[in-house]
């Protein structure tokens, strides 16, 4: 995944404050957190920054499809093993006799479901990384050996 420094290197680094942030570094952090987008940096729109702007957009592209919690499921890496379905504490709490026991989910309250051999995330508001009391939960990332689940 792209880092703040990689984004920062491609910005004008003039700290012009036109974007509303105090420094270019702060703007890079905001971009990574999906609070700002590339177009808000007005100097980047000028012709001499065209290449940097394109590079920035391509770097941020994978994060564009992320859920509100920043979750991305790389379906090309997913083997559909269902480790995340069973390991997710929210799935276990919401469906103890289905997903919690390793079987197919028995209701629609679960976050992860496997469809056509690939995992799909839904009910994202139930995720422990969402909302006011969010925690930095790694329950679905740890059991995935292929690295198909990522948070940005």
């Amino acid at each position: 995944m792209v880092t703040v420094m990689e984004l920062y290197q491609l910005l004008p680094r003039t700290n012009c404050k036109k974007c509303g942030e105090s420094t270019c570094m702060a703007f890079a952090v905001a971009m990574l957190g999906r609070k700002k987008n590339v177009a808000e940096c007005t100097p980047l729109l000028e012709a001499n920054f065209k290449k940097q702007k394109e590079k920035l957009e391509s770097l941020l592209l994978p994060a564009a499809g992320a859920e509100e919690t920043g979750m991305i499921v790389h379906s090309e890496l997913c083997t559909g093993c269902g480790n995340c379905v069973v390991a997710c504490p929210v799935d276990v709490a919401n469906d103890p006799h289905g997903a919690g026991m390793g079987c197919a989910p028995t209701n629609n309250k679960v976050i992860f479901k496997v469809v056509d051999g690939k995992v799909l995330a839904s009910n994202i508001k139930e995720c422990r990384r969402f909302g006011k009391n969010k925690v930095l939960c790694y329950a679905c990332i740890d059991p995935c050996p292929t690295g198909a689940i990522e948070f940005v």
């Binding site: 559909g80 390991a87 079987c103 197919a104 051999g117 050996p145």
Partner: protein, 403 residues
């Protein structure tokens, strides 16, 4: 709910959404299972000498080849239902043929010992409910049986294991490489050199007996400590371990004697390989490598490898298997030199060299029946979509009549 026939786990919690007699969506199955359940993209057509024909003519031609053969061989049946396997054994008896399946170069040797009760074994449900120490030995379950860890062994909560995998279970991987299963086992991965299993087992037995092993002392004592504390353990024996100690299987027996709380689980690949081995064991007392000649004779020379190498077989019927892609190169020229009759739903490497091809229905998708899971539990397969193709069982019956 339908049963997936992607691997020997036979997951029976799969949802299939059918539209216009085609599978539109498969829910809960892994990628491997979903691909199998969606059917093959390249369907086999009946043919004689690579020229398309109709099914009746190809069955007639196949029967003619078998009639003219002095030592016909039947190979495969691991991807067929138990009912088709029974018919297959009857067919082999009728033609006085050699009968073998992929277990002769896979887990057959281990399953034979499990069936003869030389090892303690248990069901996968027992493992989910009770197991606290899981050893994946020479097995990459995460890739070969993708739902093994999530459905039965490591991740699910069971009756006695309610607190989740981090607290209640320990997974150990012993392998020659850091497989995907080993990545999940993280701190408990023991890398061994190829063919190093025997040495590892002997050192582990020493450590379990209270001696100090010469081989990797610190790690070995640590592993022995974990195994000794296990309340209910399981050793998942993969093909890596079976291949490595196949000439001296007694070392594994000796290890299990030192570990009274542990059970052995053979990690089977094809979905009904254990079914074939069990049916054969019931009928003949052997799991594979059999020649029927009034009675069943078991010998290593009746394995697929030796039969081709020694030219014992002069015609071969391959059912639901692809020896061309799984056997080593030198024996393939022998396979190509004898007439091959290929019975399969899809075009395979074997069907491309076959003298006669007979397409069949995909079991568990276009035909119903039963199959045996890797732990010996019988699971029902359902018919999900209609198909005009004959089932393996019907083809065996028709061939028997025609011969």
């Amino acid at each position: 709910m339908v049963t997936c026939t992607g691997c020997a786990l036979l997951c029976d919690d799969i949802e299939a959404i059918v539209e216009n007699n085609r599978i539109k969506e498969i829910k809960n199955a892994c990628r491997r299972g979903a691909a199998r359940m969606k059917g093959c993209s390249n369907r086999l057509v009946p043919s004689i000498d690579q020229k398309p024909t109709d099914i009746e003519s190809s069955i007639k031609k196949a029967a003619q080849i078998i009639r003219n053969s002095k030592a016909p061989m039947l190979f495969g049946l691991d991807n067929s239902t138990c009912e088709a396997q029974v018919k297959g054994i009857q067919f082999a008896k009728k033609i006085n043929g050699i009968l073998d399946d992929t277990s002769s170069f896979c887990q057959g040797i281990l399953i034979e010992r499990v069936l003869a009760q030389k090892f303690r074994t248990c069901s996968l449900d027992d493992i989910r409910n009770k197991a606290d120490v899981l050893v994946y030995w020479g097995s990459d379950a995460q890739d070969s049986q993708p739902r093994h860890l999530s459905r039965f062994s490591y991740f699910p909560r069971g009756e006695l294991r309610q607190r989740g995998y981090e607290e209640d279970r320990i997974a150990i991987a012993i392998d020659v490489r850091e497989s995907n299963t080993a990545k999940i086992c993280k701190g408990h991965f023991y890398r061994i050199s190829p063919k190093g299993d025997r040495e590892f087992i002997l050192a582990l037995i020493e450590a379990l007996s209270g001696k100090v092993p010469a081989y990797d002392t610190k790690k070995m004592l640590e592993l022995a400590g974990i195994l000794k504390k296990a309340g209910f353990g399981a050793i998942f024996v993969g093909i890596g371990l079976t291949y490595s100690i196949k000439d001296d299987f007694d070392v594994l027996t000796a290890l299990t004697q030192k570990l009274p709380n542990f059970n052995i689980m053979p990690m089977v690949g094809h979905y009904n390989m254990r079914g074939f081995n069990e049916t054969m064991f019931k009928e003949t007392g052997f799991v594979n490598k059999v020649k029927f000649n009034g009675k069943a004779v078991h010998d290593i020379k009746y394995s697929i490898m030796e039969s081709l190498n020694e030219k014992t077989a002069d015609a071969i019927v391959v059912v639901g298997s692809d020896p061309v892609s799984s056997l080593p190169g030198p024996v393939l020229s022998r396979l190509a030199s004898i007439p091959v009759i290929c019975i399969d739903p899809c075009v395979t490497m074997t069907s491309k060299i076959a003298a006669v091809t007979i397409p069949c229905a995909t079991s568990g998708l276009e035909s119903a029946g039963t199959a045996v899971r890797m732990d010996g539990k019988v699971i029902g397969l359902s018919k999900i979509i209609e198909s005009e193709y004959l089932t393996d069982e019907e083809i065996m019956k028709r061939l028997m009549e025609a011969v």
